[in-house]
Amino acid sequence: MTRIKSPAELEDFRKDLLARRDPAAPCITLCSGTACHATGSEQVSAAIKEELVRQGLGTSVEFKRTGCHGFCEKGPILVIGPEETCYLEVSPKDVPEIISSTLKEKKIVDRLLYTDPTTGEKTAHESDIPFYKYQQRIVFGPNRRIDPRRVEDYLAIGGYRALIKALFEMTPDEVIDEVKKAGLRGRGGAGFPTGIKWEAARKAPGETKYVVVNCDEGDPGAYMDRSIMEGNPFGVLEGLIIGAYAIGSHEGYVYVRQEYPLAVENLGIAMEQAEKHGLLGKDILGSGFDFDVEVHRGAGAFVCGEETALLMSLEGKAGEPRPRPPYPAVRGLWDKPTNINNVETWATVPLIIDAGADRFASIGTEKSKGTKIFSLVGKISNTGLVEVPMGITLRDIIFKIGGGIPNGKKFKAVQTGGPSGGCIPEDKLDLAVGFDELARAGSMMGSGGMIVMDEDTCMVDVARYFIDFLTDESCGKCVPCREGLRQMHKILTNITEGKGNKGDIELLEMVAETAVEASLCALGKTAPNPFLSTLRYFRDEYEAHINEKRCPALSCKALISYYIDPGKCQACLICLRNCSAKAIDGGKKKIHVIDQGKCTKCGVCFEVCPSRFGAVKKLSGEPVPPPVPEEARMIAKKSKAG
């Protein structure tokens, strides 16, 4: 590894790298993101290494462990090049066959291919799988092609080309103009135009300026920033250096959640390699521009995703937000002008500089340009990360890419924008995805969490859940947020427990309004959103909870009862044995009955009752029928012949 001193040297290095690579050579790519890790990618990796040696392919096949491919539902994912055969849910025992058939004989192992759930049709190539087919993966694409621990891989796909262009062919103002022209808006939540933010920091008086990467991704159900940081830290770093050059900063910080150890590790390696190659540090590529980066781990506080709180935390203090203005662009870290952008935003910058603003701006809608990565989770068939052009409809994301709702259930709502976002009902599914479009529907883009809910999800409980989360995460500095949320949580909990009163909805609305108006930072200002949007579209559920003490989704524990339908119970003893509360009475050939007084409503009987019987039912808003009389409980054995 040598220090590269000029753009020409970097291009020579790249040429040399490419010359040594044969695109037609066989290659195995294994997804090793956190989600695949949890499904056993580590064991598959060990099996591949061992098997390659055993079958005498030790050095002739390249084996690459990459970051997240996005299709987390079907992990671990294995892609075999150059044909791009995609195997899903691979386990170590599949590995010998994959190597002997697919690598050696070029035969496809059918059972590991994607199978269409409705037609049963198999798909061999990744790009033909519906989950991938409708995506446009420009930011997330490199994840699948590079080993996040080898800068050579990133250089081979054109990495750091944008940096050369920015440093040697453009002035800082031209870089800012390009980003403005591209119409890039912050991917972290608020959607503020990135170019304008940069310009403000550039124009702010002062010698010392800072740039910061916000990787304090706290929204539950959102993990795109982590996947970018784990899978392609180079792209984030390149964007950051370009931004620093444009703003006139020589010092940067990356703020990463400590819950993301792999992201911290891979980023550290990427920084080390960049430094060794002269892509970071003093006199980058001989341009005379100096830039250093430091990694700072967060210690577990959701509010630190808010920029002023993040800066406090970077200074080693408790992450409590402070009022804006002054904005960080003027007075940020240690009172110096500071520019903070989210991971995805930084990772998009090199693409804009490299391909040009027009190319980027050609994707998307009038006000929302480019692509956005969403994490599609919840009651959805294909859980995973999807990158789609702005302007695509929610329906396309959920049904075409996500494969709809599993188990034949009905779609109810999709929650976007994280805890401060809102729920969008079915009749708004044809909404084009964009910052302003989602805001008009009462939700927001946020960082890109997209949680799908089906008919079994109680919307009052969802609102309670988010308010609970935010009550817990409120830093406590200002009253409308700290006390307001606590009261909202109390009232919502009462409603879900059947203790709601008339007038509760109006009271909630009042408290919500105060929090929106008077809170200090975005956390409090947006916290009532989950309540307001669920009320807007699902008022009937609130009313059912309050007036009829009924949970229409049969989800709120205090409002439901479990009941065994005597007409369907086959006295199979399964629920009886599994009931930890010993609340089920019955025996062989004796219809089981739940003792409502003992039942803890844990739901285990409902879970274990064989679906062909479907005898255990949930009831809400109606009395549990009295148990069948003792004499009627014996099941006469049915004659097999009859």
Binding site: D219, R226, A299, G378
Partner: protein
């Protein structure tokens, strides 16, 4: 945790007050919790008042001021897990261990925490014990997983 180890961590961060959180994170990682004498030592070395250290140690969720059990149970309460029944998983863990989130049992066997998203939403509801993820949990399988620890 002895003073020598604590000093080593502090020195690694060049004794800078702005690295306070990073220092506490490393002590927490090594010792699993933050004993009072460690906090006092950090305060002395960094010249930061004890009250501020206490503020930080209680503000951020990563820190614990009480000893932790042998097995760290993290039940994911992320939205994706929530809609897939995370509260039933948590109730089961509570019932079986007798402790609430944030608590450790008297035998120092389990420490229970809820976390906001482990990022394995495809596997929800999930629970992580000592770094290993257990996914697609039901009430019954949660009990099985917990029963396998001693």
């Amino acid at each position: 945790m002895d003073i020598g180890r604590i000093d080593l961590i502090i020195d690694r961060h060049r004794c800078e007050a702005s690295s306070l959180i990073q220092i506490l994170l490393e002590i927490q990682k090594e010792n699993r919790w933050l004993p009072r004498h460690a906090l006092v030592r950090v305060g002395e070395r960094l010249d930061v008042p004890y009250s501020r250290i206490q503020h930080i140690a209680t503000f951020y969720k990563a820190f614990s001021l009480v000893p932790k059990g042998r097995h760290q149970v993290h039940v994911c309460m992320g939205t994706a897990c929530h809609v897939r029944g995370a509260s039933r998983v948590l109730d089961t863990v509570r019932d079986l261990t007798g402790i609430n989130p944030g608590e450790t049992d008297l035998e120092l066997k389990f420490s229970l925490e809820t976390v906001n998203c482990l990022g394995c939403c495809a596997l929800g509801p999930v629970m992580e014990i000592d770094g290993k993820t257990h996914g697609k949990l039901s009430t019954a399988s949660t009990a099985d997983v917990l029963g396998s620890f001693d």
